[in-house]
Symmetry: C2
Subunit: 459 residues, 2 copies
Amino acid sequence: MHNQAAIDELITTLGQRVSQSKSDLELHGRSETHFPDAPPEAVIYPESTEEVAQILRTCHAHRCPVVGWGTGTSLEGHALALKGGVTVDFSRMNKVLDIRADDMDVRVQPGVTREALNHELRATGLFFPVDPGANASLGGMASTRASGTTSVRYGTMRDHVLALEVVTASGQIMRTGSRARKTSAGYDLTGLFVGSEGTLGLITELTLRLHGQPEAISAAICGFDTVEAAVGTTMDAIQMGLAMARIELLDEASVRAVNAYAGSNIPVKPHLLLEFHGSDTMVRETSELFGELAEARGGSGFDWASKPEDRSALWAMRHNAFYAILGLMPGATSMVTDVCVPISRLAETIEETQRDFAAHDVTGPILGHVGDGNFHAILLMHPDDSAARARAHDAAHRLVERALDKGGTATGEHGIGMGKLRYMEREHGHGWAVMGQIKQALDPLGIMNPGKMVPPSNL
Amino acid sequence: MHNQAAIDELITTLGQRVSQSKSDLELHGRSETHFPDAPPEAVIYPESTEEVAQILRTCHAHRCPVVGWGTGTSLEGHALALKGGVTVDFSRMNKVLDIRADDMDVRVQPGVTREALNHELRATGLFFPVDPGANASLGGMASTRASGTTSVRYGTMRDHVLALEVVTASGQIMRTGSRARKTSAGYDLTGLFVGSEGTLGLITELTLRLHGQPEAISAAICGFDTVEAAVGTTMDAIQMGLAMARIELLDEASVRAVNAYAGSNIPVKPHLLLEFHGSDTMVRETSELFGELAEARGGSGFDWASKPEDRSALWAMRHNAFYAILGLMPGATSMVTDVCVPISRLAETIEETQRDFAAHDVTGPILGHVGDGNFHAILLMHPDDSAARARAHDAAHRLVERALDKGGTATGEHGIGMGKLRYMEREHGHGWAVMGQIKQALDPLGIMNPGKMVPPSNL
Ligand SMILES: Cc1cc2nc3c(=O)[nH]c(=O)nc-3n(C[C@H](O)[C@H](O)[C@H](O)COP(=O)(O)OP(=O)(O)OC[C@H]3O[C@@H](n4cnc5c(N)ncnc54)[C@H](O)[C@@H]3O)c2cc1C
Ligand SMILES: Cc1cc2nc3c(=O)[nH]c(=O)nc-3n(C[C@H](O)[C@H](O)[C@H](O)COP(=O)(O)OP(=O)(O)OC[C@H]3O[C@@H](n4cnc5c(N)ncnc54)[C@H](O)[C@@H]3O)c2cc1C
């Protein structure tokens, strides 16, 4: 392979931390979902920024492709090594470098996972809220602009990355941003690297915003007759400025799956799962107000859980929903979709999608971060039923088109990877060409995660 | 002039809306502050995006410089036509295009001012919170990444621009972002244009996030013996998660100025001015908790104003502080500085600055958006006292260096313009070169607001 020269050069300096073992290549050539395997030619485990810079300088000199790797949980084949080359696995750069409680920020290496970070923070009264379900790496989460259940209150990775250290395609070490909370000093390079999926450089350090642990937390669950009523209640609450820390929708099919999985007895209709953070008074007041809003739209069985164990049970249910849904069709594989629309269009988008699935014999329970207008359908199919696969793919395609028709985006939080590349032109028009110009400027040789993100001429 | 060919071509299509009148050129060649005048060769008043595209296509063909103009209130000489060419004044593109109350967003033309927008919104129960004091245009505010008194709660322009329509340097019309609340679809072009000060393209439309008007508002004022105690109380409150909508610091010199201007009798020591938004209960609870925190640090005279007229008086005092300070030295001109540091370093940064001013005989009251770590010193000098001017410039320079030493930024909200260009290399290192690469990619002829933002080789 023509990339072997780069790899050999790296072996002389990094030794055993350059692996070409079959298992390492296989493991890093796989994605969480339905994309065909695409292994790299070597996997490298750097331990410092300087080593990452060395890797990039060498790969740049040899025009060898470089793919970053956090924990590999991305869902659109983001980290597949489509053109071979080396995969840089950040699992050994996993130190929490500096917790600054006064400033409520923290400096971490990219391989730290969000659970590890929150574990380190537990004694400080602070926490890091972005929660993509999976125990992903913070470098990967920044690279996909991840978010999750708490974004309605706390925001996404875009809102939490204050500063970055990045190694550019040619191996220069660069710092973006600062520890100041806000700045008007020039182009927002931090924001440019957040969500760039490793196509512009590798992130070697992050400074992240933290939040104070709330004094009180309560959770609640509430059923509705229609998705429209559930979404309507959500909109009312947001417009009133109610401080919800989480507001998640499960549709009927998801509730059925959860009941079967957990042996629970939740009425089979759309439900909202909520969490409120604040002082005791505020949490009580907010929950009560929410209860009134829900009632006005026919919401029923508004149940609160202010005891930690009830709360845990509720969120375990939500977090296990994915497995519960898989359990609906034993042996099935899944396809996870991820669109986001203006909230006024959310109910119709979900309802049209449900009708579309029913009409085309597609099994696809829906759940979503409804406060953001973001939802997922989890499409199930037997791996050897190629007709079902085709039906699922077509339905997923129509779902994205539908979201774009409603003024939304092809991906609310999972990112582009391989699965959403085909929608970039429609979503961004000339903007996609501009993304290609930026790629060209920052990575003229096209070695950073090639085959992703930008138009084919820049791939 | 070699730009006259472009101007003549534009006159044939836009007629009277291309002005070369002396007064128009003079007016658009001036800045709010101390920079020497630099008039354009023509001022153009487009009325549509298509006209802006036409202007840029023509200027691109003739390599004629183009400078955007909102209301001209920027403080660092941002909109001065350093290389001549044309200034595009957006005052006729001042329509609120579409208020979408359900989604709490609004589509506006760039010439709409923030006061005009809030006036249009008054019947909807919604408001746009970003408040840079001046009644600036929303296009200008996006271009400088403006913020202000309410950013501690609601965020900056970066957090409020959901989508843009931009005309690129070559005259292509492009849309960035969408109405979805969040997205992971590609590079954050919206974020790249926010804060780019007209050096990458012209903004012809913005989609902005709105907020619900709070049910209850209360305001308060509280004195402290030291800046440290005031800042410490602010930090305590933020760490407790108290929802303050505004928290502003006035130092002793500012209080003295305000007293003299308004005939008030506020004790001459550092003060915090606060505002709380929420439900009645929340506002009451938050104010009380804040009062306790302040007391613990020796805060005194914690006065609330929940009546609208008292609140107005309080914020009028804050908004007039600039004029009050000017009043300290009749006939003086001013220099406004704007740094932002991690909040743990804020008290020392302010105190060192006060000592530095005293040691160098510089008059410079300090006030700030203390919740963000952002503050301004307003340096006063008689226009014909060149020694005083030099002292003020040197002190302002040391202030920026001090902020950078503390891990901060050269500008928290005003932007780079001409005044902060000299700090870009120190603040961003290799990142400044990367900004130059982006400029080169998007504006290869360098016609957009030339002389600003990027390294001299890209200017
Ligand atoms: C069960 C499940 C639930 C999920 N739920 C959510 C959810 O609710 N919200 C959500 O946003 N996501 C969700 N995800 C997707 C996934 O967790 C996120 O995309 C996450 O951000 C990926 O992080 P990672 O560390 O696994 O990155 P990886 O998959 O390893 O990499 C992701 C991308 O980032 C690049 N990259 C990784 N590290 C770096 C680095 N240091 N520098 C530069 N580039 C780098 C890679 O090249 C790749 O392009 C879910 C996944 C699973 C399996
Ligand atoms: C008394 C006073 C107090 C202030 N307080 C604050 C404060 O608290 N916070 C704060 O952030 N600022 C403050 N400012 C500064 C100023 O109000 C802001 O910088 C504001 O954002 C400028 O908006 P403008 O419409 O006046 O822009 P202009 O000054 O007209 O232009 C600013 C820059 O944006 C570019 N531009 C303008 N319109 C467009 C467009 N449509 N497309 C592309 N580029 C464009 C211009 O070329 C220029 O580079 C204050 C100013 C004054 C006079």
